[in-house]
């Protein structure tokens, strides 16, 4: 058995059923070995970055580790943004890169790049395999590291000669033992007692839930805790779809671009319980101020997150699902929060019923999203890009029991379509929606080829305002001197682009007929593009 065969065999041992990749000279042995295993699906991306995003979308929906595989040099460097995006959102991923022959490493030969060095700051771990006999152990460790503790991307760089090397024998290890890697799982019992006590003393407690809840699969525990203790919940962008919008305890998304009600709740609460959220700048603009106002309980699997952006009175390190279960087993008290809930409920209702502006010949994104969300399946998967489209979607798309996927940490434009493709591979039967702008769509529209090739049903909502909206919005405010370099002049006819990939399109430019268009869009069998005409002056605060 060769190293390449051992690599694919090891992936099979990890129950890998799909790889997103782009072949090239130095990864050919592995691709050749893959050919023998039709049980592993393969998607050829149109640029390597999207292999990372597809693996990310796949991982987030399947709950498994996403796998992408590209060649050395430019293949590897193109993948970097995909890896960094996954790292910032803690997505479990294994990225495999081909590499030039090991005896030529460091000679700057054709398509050589030090990829393990390049990704060190934003990968959870990486391996440069020097001996094919190490491959089973390296793959086993990589999947373990990627999926446990705080998940993240792991890179395996395999020189072509190692892929061609004969193994002495193939034996896949059953267990992993890495002495420097022992993530905590259970929460400290004493700390949990302190948390319970703090809840029983609070009048205005608040849970702030983030992407860590999804990563731990702790949605049910979160809901149970909130409901049993009568504690309202706000979310970060990564936790947005944890609760349906109409849940009485759901107070929306916090942050600079969040819901007013959520931000109100944050500053007024007298006990903040952070669950799998890291209090980064976009979510909590002024951590020092929040810290001064109220005690904070911080539940996170990564001890380094505690005290990084905000000091916690009660830190609780471990798997969020396990810790919430530990708390629930202690029979936590019902908080005396009736007044608090009334107070917030008024704000929430006002916000949900907020009137959006109307303009002749255009549709307003908030209006489109509010109406679209109501029409979606209970468990629809919505992937949203970066820019105004992201802010509008996170603020106004009604959530049911589905998922919202976005690049929350790195804010990578062009994430939505590839992530949706990955999600479609993981869940072919679920309704799959992309929301993007005309800027971000032009960063990933080449992946319509993957959609077409697989005959996927992905519905793409494109907000066309002919400008990089969020940058435009920033540039129109002080200290800048007006927009520059944000007009998307020269953009193609998107309907024609879609048609070239065999995908039909619809246009929405009138709010009176919008419902009919949305119905037609969603009822279409197969992929469809909905071009929404948005006025270039629209702000996310409108």
């Amino acid at each position: 058995m060769t190293g390449a065969q051992a690599l694919i065999q090891s992936l099979l041992c990890e129950q890998v059923d799909h790889i997103f990749g782009y072949a090239g000279a130095t990864i050919c042995p592995a691709v050749d070995a893959l050919k023998e295993h039709p049980e592993i699906g393969y998607t050829l991306v149109r640029t390597e970055q999207n292999a990372g995003h597809m693996a990310s979308g796949y991982a987030r929906i399947s709950g498994k580790v996403g796998v992408c595989m590209v060649t050395s040099g430019p293949g590897a460097t193109n993948l970097i943004t995909g890896i960094a995006t996954a790292f910032m959102d803690s997505i479990p991923m294994v990225a495999i890169t081909g590499q030039v022959p090991s005896h030529l490493l460091g000679r700057d030969i054709f398509q050589e790049v030090d990829i393990t060095g390049a990704v060190a700051p934003f990968s959870k771990h990486s391996y440069l395999v020097k001996d094919a006999n190490d491959i089973p152990r390296v793959v086993k460790e990589s999947f373990h590291i990627a999926a446990t503790g705080r998940p993240g991307p792991v890179l395996i760089d395999v020189p072509i000669d190692v892929q061609n090397q004969e193994l002495k024998r193939f034996e896949y290890p059953e267990t992993v033992n890495i002495r420097g890697y022992k993530p905590s799982v259970k929460g400290n019992e004493l700390q949990i007692k302190r948390v319970i006590e703090a809840i029983s003393n609070a009048k205005q407690p608040l849970i702030c839930a983030g992407g860590g809840v999804w990563l731990a699969g702790a949605q049910a525990e979160l809901l149970e805790l909130a409901e049993r203790c009568a504690i309202p919940v706000v979310k970060t962008m990564m936790g947005i779809s944890l609760m349906p919008t109409d849940h009485p305890l759901n107070m929306g998304m916090i942050g600079a671009h969040g819901n007013a009600c959520a931000n109100k709740a944050l500053v007024k609460s007298d006990l903040l319980i952070m669950v799998g959220a890291r209090a980064a700048d976009r979510a909590i603009i002024n951590p020092a101020e929040i810290q001064r106002r109220m005690p904070m309980i911080h539940i996170d699997v990564d001890p380094a997150e505690i005290g990084k952006n905000m000091q916690a009175q009660i830190p609780l390190v471990g798997n969020v699902k396990v810790i919430l279960r530990q708390m629930l087993d202690k029979d936590p008290p019902v908080a005396d929060s009736a007044e608090w809930l009334d107070f917030l409920g008024d704000y929430r209702r006002a916000e949900l019923n907020r009137q959006f502006p109307r303009r002749e010949g255009y549709v307003f994104p908030g209006t489109v999203l509010r109406r679209l969300g109501r029409k979606l399946d209970e468990d629809a998967i919505v992937s949203v890009d970066v820019g105004q489209n992201q802010i509008f979607t996170c603020k106004y798309l009604p959530q049911k029991h589905g998922r919202l996927l976005t690049s929350g940490g790195l804010g990578t434009m062009g994430y939505a379509l590839p992530a949706a493709i990955g999600a479609k591979v993981a869940a072919p039967d679920k309704q799959n929606i992309v929301v993007c702008g005309d800027g971000s769509f032009q960063m990933d529209m080449n992946e319509l080829a993957a959609v077409r090739h697989a005959g996927m049903d992905i519905k793409i909502v494109l907000f066309r305002n002919r400008v990089l909206g969020l940058v435009n919005q920033i540039q129109r405010a002080a200290p800048y001197h007006g927009p520059f370099g944000v007009d998307l002049d020269g953009s193609p006819d998107f309907a024609a682009i879609a048609a070239a990939y065999g995908i039909p399109s619809l246009t929405a430019d009138d709010e009176d007929s919008l419902d009919g268009v949305l119905d037609q869009f969603l009822a279409h069998e197969g992929s469809c593009l909905l071009i929404c005409e948005v006025h270039p002056d629209v702000n996310t605060t409108d």
Binding site: A120, P121, G180, Y181, P303
Partner: protein
């Protein structure tokens, strides 16, 4: 405040790179760094001296712990550690000045590592403070070259990381 961080790591290629990366990303300066294998040849000990506040060092300690190749991290306070550094100093020495230099060496417990008609190369293993005193004493004789290893440290008493 100067703090000593002792890190046990897997003795593998690329590990030092990961560690220094972590420091450079947080833009703080390493005052000294010393690496060597331990009694277990698969483990290296890295001793890092930084001049930073407690909260910064605590965050670095946590980030170091996140690295898969890092086995153990401990920040040692000045009172609980034995820290030593080796210095080599090449100083101008003529028959006229040689005896004065030797007197300083004797007082400081330094040794002569090399001698030439015009120079002396001296070695001293001691605490950083005393090494600085030694350097100051030799400066009037004109130092031609100087190399320091950076501090290595172990915990006092029977405890160890």
């Amino acid at each position: 405040m100067k703090q000593t961080i002792s890190v046990l790591v897997e003795n593998r290629a690329g590990v030092l790179n990961r560690i220094t990366n972590l420091f450079s990303r947080r833009a703080f300066n390493i005052e000294s760094l010393a690496v060597g294998t331990t009694d277990d040849p698969t483990i290296s000990r890295i001793t890092i001296i930084v001049d930073s506040g407690n909260s910064v060092v605590e965050q670095v300690e946590k980030q170091l712990n996140k690295l898969v190749d890092v086995i153990k991290v401990r920040t040692l306070d000045e009172n609980s550690l034995i820290g030593r550094e080796l210095v080599l100093i090449k100083v101008n020495a003529t028959p006229k000045t040689r005896q004065d230099i030797m007197t300083i060496c004797e007082l400081m417990g330094a040794r002569v590592a090399d001698i030439s008609p015009t120079s002396l190369t001296l070695e001293l293993s001691d605490t950083p403070d005393r090494i600085e005193v030694f350097e100051d004493m030799l400066r009037p004789f004109s130092i031609k070259a100087l190399a320091r290893t950076g501090v290595i440290a172990l915990q006092k008493g029977s405890g160890n990381i």
